[in-house]
């Protein structure tokens, strides 16, 4: 790991790095694209949480969204895989090195269409990864066709109307076993940042569906993924605040109004509920909230479902502590006697 000597007087985080060190290359996405805001929030979250970039891997599929990992955390290894197959590459990488912190970025086409199979199985495995869908309801990179998250009745620029119901990736993730499922909007800086920081404290799959308007192909009237529509129909479930374990802050709240979730690293997530009856640890409640919001043409944002204690996939595999990728010869090649024993059994 490279040693870092921060410039005196500059602002640094708890591991002594400046925010600058969390940035990536210059974006080649359209000016105003929602995906760019998400990259900024990711930069901030990793900086504020003091995660060392060299411990991070960034993964993606193919699409405008999938280009994003090149635009944050330039000091981290990145893997821009093939269309829709980021989950498998991420799974393999984490098997190889369980100490890595993985963030995957996908699009609604990359996940919802070609990638839905790998998505399903990633969620089911509860792989420890932050999986972000930059959701614009269309295929940006191939020029604006509908994706499977396009809402019923949503219109293309050309006037074509979508007549298939959308796949609700949050509902699917909950149904399949993801343990931290949230939805947000690229325009809601505060909420998104809190969610990303909380995500870094979670052990297991974090599925974060972020409405992220495509200014070039899906920001017109008639689109339900435009900035205007998103602003008007954002229905936050809670006010989300996050206190990382290394900050010794006590939050005062009136019991009953706010739910405190203790994350596995000791960080705390405070959810000040806007609908008091809502309990984000109840699967069925979460599914109902999603369905009702959809029926109203709104989208519920915030933490939709959370289950902080389930074993993640790597724990189930009972792996040694050191990364498998780094094991020395003597750990990975059984001794001569082992081979002899096998040979004897075959004689």
């Amino acid at each position: 790991m490279s040693t870092v000597t921060p410039t005196p007087g500059r602002k640094v985080n708890r591991i002594g790095l400046e925010q600058q060190q969390y940035r990536g290359g210059k974006t080649t996405l359209c000016a105003g694209c929602g995906h760019n805001s998400i990259s900024e929030r990711v930069t901030e979250a990793f900086y504020e949480m003091g995660v060392h970039p060299s411990n991070v891997i960034k993964l993606s599929g193919i699409g405008c969204s999938s280009k994003s990992p090149a635009y944050f955390l330039g000091g981290s290894h990145g893997f821009n895989a093939v269309h829709g197959r980021m989950p498998s590459v991420g799974t393999g990488a984490l098997l190889a090195n369980r100490k890595l912190i993985a963030i995957g970025v996908s699009g609604d086409g990359d996940t919802g269409a070609i990638g839905i199979g790998q998505f399903v199985h990633l969620m089911r495995r509860n792989l420890p990864i932050i999986y972000i869908i930059e959701d614009n309801g269309c295929y940006g990179l191939t020029k604006g066709q509908f994706s499977p998250t396009a809402d019923l009745g949503s219109k293309l620029k050309t006037g074509v109307v979508n007549d298939l119901p959308p796949i609700d990736t949050c509902a699917l993730a909950i149904e399949l076993g993801a343990t931290f499922v949230a939805r947000s909007f690229s325009g809601d800086k505060k909420q998104l940042l809190s969610l990303l920081k909380a995500a870094l404290s979670h052990r297991g799959t974090v599925m974060l569906d972020v409405i992220s308007p495509c200014v070039t192909f899906n920001d017109h009237e008639g689109s339900t993924k435009s900035y205007a529509y998103a602003k008007d129909h954002d229905d936050p479930l809670e006010e989300v605040s996050f206190v990382p374990f290394f900050e010794d802050i006590n939050v005062d709240y009136e019991p009953g109004t706010t739910q405190e979730v203790v994350m596995h690293d000791g960080s705390k997530l405070y959810l000040k509920k806007l609908d008091e009856s809502y309990d984000p640890t109840d699967k069925i409640a979460a599914l109902r909230v999603l369905q009702e919001a959809q029926r109203r043409g709104e989208f519920a944002t915030g933490v939709i479902y959370i289950e902080p204690d389930r074993d993640d996939f790597l724990e189930l595999l009972n792996l040694v502590d050191e990364p498998l990728a780094m094991l020395p010869l003597e750990k990975v090649r059984p001794p001569r006697e082992a081979l002899e024993e096998v040979m004897e059994s075959l004689r």
Binding site: G78, N80, V82, G92, L319, E340
Partner: protein, 635 residues
């Protein structure tokens, strides 16, 4: 479909040489129904011959379902050590009513048949020796519990054969013990069945056929193993850490055996934790995706599959090639196209795999011929994948992977792992400026860093990138990188396993073969030499890209016969792509593609025919087309 349609129609085709005693040189075929528990009986049979020191091989011809369809298990005993399939069946055990007629009708004159008495097979022909056995009656005597009879019934034919062929019953007991271990009751019942068969034969079946076994000393110290198990052992010894797979015949048993070995030998003693991860993926796309992800992150990663899986892996295989990520893929080949014949053997994926993925992709293949090579080449594969930073395909097949082969025991590896050009602080200091795809050494192989190793990070992508790994669409960057990849492929020629060459200076013709054809080719060489005085040299390909030795071998001979277990002469195609025309002119093709393991006689007949020797068709009835067919116009 009727059951007989499912029968395998690989008719025998030789006349029986009239001999009094044929010792340790014949084939036994047991025709049963799958799911009927014949496996134990067959393994006991082959093991007891093996324990008697007689070279043996066992081939299982089973249907693509779980229970109720015809299955044939063939054991060859060969005093000369030939392990290929023998085309002719000398001794039939006919247990399956549905195929019995065809099984008997396709035998050579002089063959012997043990059969279930009610089938009355003796009425079918007069030129065979028939031994009727009342299996149901015998089993009822030894096994009062009717429900268990199905499971021990087959052991009776082992007893009968022991008597007729002269197999030592103590070896049978030993083999049975080994098979069933301490399962007290089962062992007892089976032993009783064995004895009942033996006694029945002793009383009622006087010896009439020439086939006999006698002790030899040819198997001392040797082992019996399937190729998939051997490959699994090799992977374990190669230090594999991440295994991702999806079940498919005939490859499943590779990973399944690996799981059992790893659980036994790769759990960390101190912590009780695994030094490996094995994951059953949701499909082959994910299996290779995971292996690529793991290889990228520094694991020794592998997957294992067969034809349909290879097709599905195309896209990721191209990513592996272009982004230069190590991964090992076993292709245990079966008969295609499409689902094809999933439980039959072929070498039909060679051409497709060599160019697997769109857009100027080229892949490395290594090709084991023996269980021993399954073991050693598994280790080679992991080293090569990391040395060359690319996917490496180990092209084996069903015959090698799932059948039982005799072998010298495997040697413990002395070589450390070759992890290739992993960037270290020292290298970084030496080379000065690092670029992920920079050809520092002129061999086309760049240095790589892995996440968490403290070396500089880079961005891996399947899109255009320059020597530094940066995104680019520049024409010059693209060409530079593609030319380097071509150079790396040239470098690979020096790293892949060398061919095995047996040159006969007196031979005008040479044979090129690969994979499981090896065993039939060696036997065919002896046949042609002994029966026709035709001497041949032999060049066994062990990898693609081809190595330098190839052209020299071709130059030393007038004609070269290339043996392919596929319809389209796929390795001939690969050779034609790169050889110069004078050498191409020497190539002839011998093809075998009916799903059965290739046999020596088919090769000999084809080569002799092309050489202008007269080949007498010695089969009783027209052989099924295909077993005899071969030979494209071969120029």
């Amino acid at each position: 479909m009727t059951p007989t349609e499912l029968a395998v129609a690989d008719a025998a085709s030789r006349a029986r040489p009239s001999e009094d005693r044929v010792v340790n040189d014949f084939s036994i075929q047991v025709a049963t129904v799958n799911g009927s528990g014949s496996q134990t009986a067959n393994l006991v049979l082959i093991r007891s011959l093996f324990q008697m020191g007689i070279p043996v091989s066992g081939k299982n011809l089973f249907p693509s379902n779980i229970a109720g369809l015809p299955t044939w298990y063939t054991i060859r005993a060969s005093k000369d050590g030939y392990l290929a399939r023998k085309k002719e069946i000398d001794f039939l055990v006919a247990m399956n009513a549905e195929t019995a007629r065809e099984d008997v009708l396709t035998l050579e004159p002089g063959a012997a048949v043990v059969y279930d008495e009610p089938l009355k097979l003796n009425l079918l022909r007069s030129d065979l020796t028939f031994y009727p056995v009342p299996f149901d009656k015998l089993v009822a005597q030894v096994c009062p519990d009717a429900k268990l009879r199905r499971l021990v019934r087959n052991m009776i034919y082992d007893g009968v054969l022991a008597k007729i062929l002269g197999i030592d019953t103590t070896e049978m007991d030993k083999a049975l013990n080994r098979q069933l271990g301490k399962k007290g009751r089962a062992f007892g019942l089976n032993q009783a069945a064995l004895a009942a068969g033996y006694e029945f034969a002793e009383k009622h079946l006087p010896k009439q056929d020439p086939f006999l076994v006698e002790r030899m000393r040819e198997t001392a110290g040797m082992i019996l193993i399937e190729g998939n198990a051997a490959a699994a052992l090799g992977c374990m010894m190669a230090g594999v850490t991440v295994v991702t797979w999806y079940p498919i015949t005939p490859s499943s048993s590779l990973c399944e055996t690996l799981i059992s070995y790893m659980k036994k030998y790769r759990i960390d003693k101190d912590t009780g934790k695994a030094t490996f991860a094995i994951v059953q993926a949701e499909d082959e796309i994910a299996a290779l995706g995971m292996a690529i992800g793991a290889g990228w992150a520094g694991a020794r990663a592998m997957t294992s599959t067969a034809g349909p899986g290879i097709s599905l892996m195309s896209e990721f295989a191209g990513l592996g090639y272009y982004a230069e990520v190590p991964a090992v893929i076993f292709d245990v080949q079966r008969v295609g196209p499409s689902t094809g014949l999933p439980t039959r053997t072929a070498q039909g994926d060679m051409l497709m795999t060599a160019v697997l993925s769109h857009g100027d992709t080229k892949q490395i293949m290594i090709i084991p011929s023996s269980v021993e090579e399954c073991y050693t080449m598994a280790m080679d594969a992991f080293d090569l994948a990391e040395q060359l930073q690319t996917p490496v395909f180990v092209m084996t097949d069903l015959d090698l992977g799932m059948n039982t082969w005799m072998s010298q025991p495997f040697e413990y590896p002395t070589r450390p792992l070759n992890r290739g050009k992993l960037l270290t602080p020292e290298t970084l200091a030496r080379i000065g400026q690092w670029g992920r795809y920079l050809d520092v050494d002129g061999d086309g192989i760049p240095y790589r860093s892995i996440p968490g190793d403290g070396m500089p990070a880079y961005f891996t992508r399947g899109s255009g990138h320059n020597a530094k790994g940066q995104y680019t669409e520049r024409a010059d960057d693209y060409v530079t990188n593609m030319d380097r990849l071509a150079r790396k492929f040239e470098t690979a020629r020096q790293y892949v396993p060398k061919p095995e060459v047996q040159r006969d200076p007196a031979a005008g013709i040479g044979i090129i073969g690969y994979g499981t054809s090896h065993w039939a080719i060696e036997e065919s060489q002896d046949q042609m030499r002994d029966e026709n005085g035709l001497k041949t040299s032999y060049f066994r390909l062990r990898a693609y890209p081809f190595t330098d030795e190839l052209t020299a071998f071709i130059d030393q001979h007038d004609r070269i016969y290339v043996v392919d277990q596929n319809r389209d002469a796929q390795v001939v195609a690969l050779l034609r792509m790169e050889l110069d025309p004078a050498r191409i002119a020497k190539l002839r093709s011998v093809r075998h593609y009916n799903g059965l393991p290739i046999d020596a006689r088919s090769i000999s007949d084809e080569i002799l025919a092309q050489e202008g020797h007269e080949v007498v068709s010695r089969s009783r009835r027209p052989a099924p087309s295909g077993d005899e067919t071969a030979g494209v116009g071969g120029e």
